[in-house]
């Protein structure tokens, strides 16, 4: 496709190297564009097709889809217990995972010499590669029976104390909201850590060195130079962790206890949206199935919104750095 410069033409004349783009080139671009568009198409299709399957649930229940009564036998499909469970397990996971993840991220960027950073990153990646179902298997066969004793001790210990009794008292079970929250925390730590690390790493070296030059300790440097810059980004990372915690299915389905109830007792068996879909979809027909798919739609909507906000925050904080 090379076009030799026309020897007869005046030297230095502006001449198109090719008058017309060859068909192969146009086709390639079209194919690449189609592949890229596939992302948008899939997202739209997900929203449309699942909503359509769930429409009988939305229309028959109306606002009652948010009621707290879930009784398939009586055709009552209020989703509130599962929304509650999703929120509770996600919050427990964040409370545990965020300090730990940010701590590790800071460890990697500020404390540890570069040579040691690599093996630590490998460990984090190894944590990320453990499949959800293996977490669930270990969770229900090993972790839950072990931790049940501690739940029972804590529960009898806080009997009668006002707030603590409602949260940690009552009947305890190895398979419960709290166990699911802990396992979720293990699972979202890698993503929150690696994203926080990326964000913290964009803090200009000059700010760090400036703080040290003024005599700051490492903690003070982190508070003064790193934190203001990376705050927004870390928030974004946390939101991404939240999205992941809300959607994680299999490990939760195995260790949450499969009991659709709204209770403040964190050590009691519970249920959440992805877990009930996973456990009960196979048997469900008609309105029951529509309700489960409908919860899938809600889950999709929640996670999309959270992810969009998170990405916007992360991108904006990144852009601020680059501009500066």
């Amino acid at each position: 496709m090379t076009t030799k410069a026309d020897p007869a033409g005046p030297a230095g004349s502006a001449r198109q190297l090719s008058e017309r783009r060859p068909l192969g080139d146009i086709t390639f671009q079209a194919v690449a564009l189609a592949a890229g568009l596939l992302v948008l198409v899939i997202l739209v299709l997900i929203a449309v097709s699942t909503s359509q399957q769930a429409s009988s649930w939305f229309s028959s229940e109306g606002i009652k889809i948010f009621s707290s009564t879930w009784n398939p036998t009586n055709n009552q499909f209020g989703a509130l217990p599962f929304i509650y469970g999703t929120a509770v397990t996600a919050i427990i996971a964040l409370v545990i995972a965020v300090p730990v993840s940010v701590g590790v991220a800071l460890l990697l960027t500020e404390v540890v010499p570069r040579r040691w950073a690599r093996p630590i990153v490998y460990v984090i990646d190894l944590l990320a590669v453990v499949p959800s179902v293996v977490w669930g298997l270990w969770g229900i066969l090993v972790f839950a029976p072990w931790i049940q004793h501690y739940y029972a001790s804590v529960s009898s210990g806080v009997k009668g104390i006002p707030v603590l009794d409602s949260l940690f008292g009552g009947q305890t079970s190895g398979a419960s909201f709290f166990t699911a929250g802990i396992i979720l925390a293990f699972m979202i730590t890698p993503i929150v850590t690696s994203l926080s690390r990326e964000v913290i790493a964009t803090v200009p070296a000059i700010d760090r060195e400036g703080a040290y030059a003024l005599g700051a300790t490492r903690l003070e440097m982190i508070n003064g130079a790193v934190w203001p810059h990376s705050q927004a980004g870390v928030v974004g990372a946390v939101l991404l962790g939240l999205g992941r915690a809300m959607g994680e299915t299999i490990a939760v389905a195995l260790v949450i206890g499969s009991s659709a109830t709204i209770t403040p007792h964190l050590f009691a068996p519970g249920y959440n949206m992805p877990a009930v879909i996973a456990n009960e979809f196979g048997e469900a027909t008609g309105l029951f199935r529509a309700a489960l798919i409908g919860m899938g739609v809600l889950l999709f909507a929640f996670t999309i919104i959270i992810n969009v906000i998170a990405r916007v925050i992360v991108e904006r904080s990144g852009r601020r750095q680059r501009g500066a």
């Binding site: 036998t73 079970s173 009991s259 048997e283 008609g286």
Partner: protein, 287 residues
């Protein structure tokens, strides 16, 4: 001939039969009215009873060696969360001489739609006024109960949780090494689950013309009151003559030589009269 058996509860079996995904479905209860619509316009469903079996009330109490004795009322109250501890007077009064711990009772029940649940709740509904939660493949269990997937799932919860109690199919309970209770039957006797006691229960059941019946809470003084039955459901009209041949061969085996194998698998064979009627029904499968 390859017979492929996919797992799942009775509800899933009926769904898959209706949608044509499978050619025969196992179900522990007849097609309930709310599922009838998915079978509308399809050929008649034939019920072939194949096995009878006990449903145990299994528990995890390490100190208790003799099987506990329980009445239907006490069982109903345990599973409704009204009796919360093992040393409750209601349980103790039935079991003098047994040292019951003060452990809290953890209820284990099915999280999936299940024929075992349907038969267990039907037993409670028929036997005692204390049971208020009705009978169905899914029940509105108390909030603190734990759900397990399949008989195995419930067995696993009972096995791993001290103080747990759950209703588990006899075969699964025995294979998991669980302890189970002797239940009082309609004649007032406490009977332990066994294949002979299950057959005794089925022998006393009233059989409808389409071969459906309920073996719970029936039978003589030797009958185990929580006995369930299982049918293989097939459509009377099949797509091909080969399908008819295969199904007749498979079902014929189950109703004939297969029945001898059942006790070794911890299931009970059908009473003779029911078996005869089922074999006669084979001729109704056509293509």
């Amino acid at each position: 001939m390859t017979v492929n058996y996919g797992g799942g509860g009775s509800g899933k079996g009926r769904t898959d039969l209706a949608s044509g995904t499978v050619q025969f479905a196992g179900s522990d209860s007849p097609i309930p009215s709310d599922e009838a619509s998915s079978f509308a316009g399809k050929p008649t469903v034939l019920y072939f009873p194949v096995i009878v079996g006990p449903i145990t009330v299994s528990y995890n109490l390490s100190g208790v060696t003799k099987p506990l004795q329980l009445t239907p009322t006490v069982i109903a109250n345990i599973f409704q969360g009204k009796i919360k501890k093992w040393n409750d007077p209601a349980i103790a009064s039935l079991n003098s001489g047994v040292k019951l711990p003060s452990t809290a009772i953890t209820i284990a029940r099915r999280s999936d739609s299940s024929g075992t649940t349907a038969n267990f709740s039907l037993f409670l509904e028929d036997s005692t006024k204390a049971w208020k939660l009705g009978s169905s493949s899914t029940i509105n269990w108390p909030a603190s109960s734990r759900g397990g997937d399949g008989n195995g799932g419930v067995a696993q919860i009972v096995k791993s949780t001290p103080g747990a109690v759950g209703y588990v199919d006899y075969a699964d309970a025995k294979a998991s090494g669980l302890s189970f209770a002797s239940v009082q039957n309609a004649s007032g006797k406490y009977i332990a689950p066994s294949t002979t006691a299950a057959s005794a229960a089925a022998a006393g059941a009233k059989v409808a013309s389409n071969l459906t019946f309920a073996a719970v809470w029936s039978g003589d003084a030797t009958a185990y009151p929580i006995t369930y039955q299982s049918w293989d459901l097939v459509f009377a009209k099949q797509k091909s003559a080969n399908d008819v041949k295969m199904l007749k061969a498979y079902l014929g085996y189950l109703l004939g030589p297969g029945q001898q194998l059942l006790p070794s698998l911890s299931y009970a064979p059908l009473p003779a009269n029911i078996d005869q009627q089922a074999k006669a029904q084979l001729s109704k499968i056509t293509s």
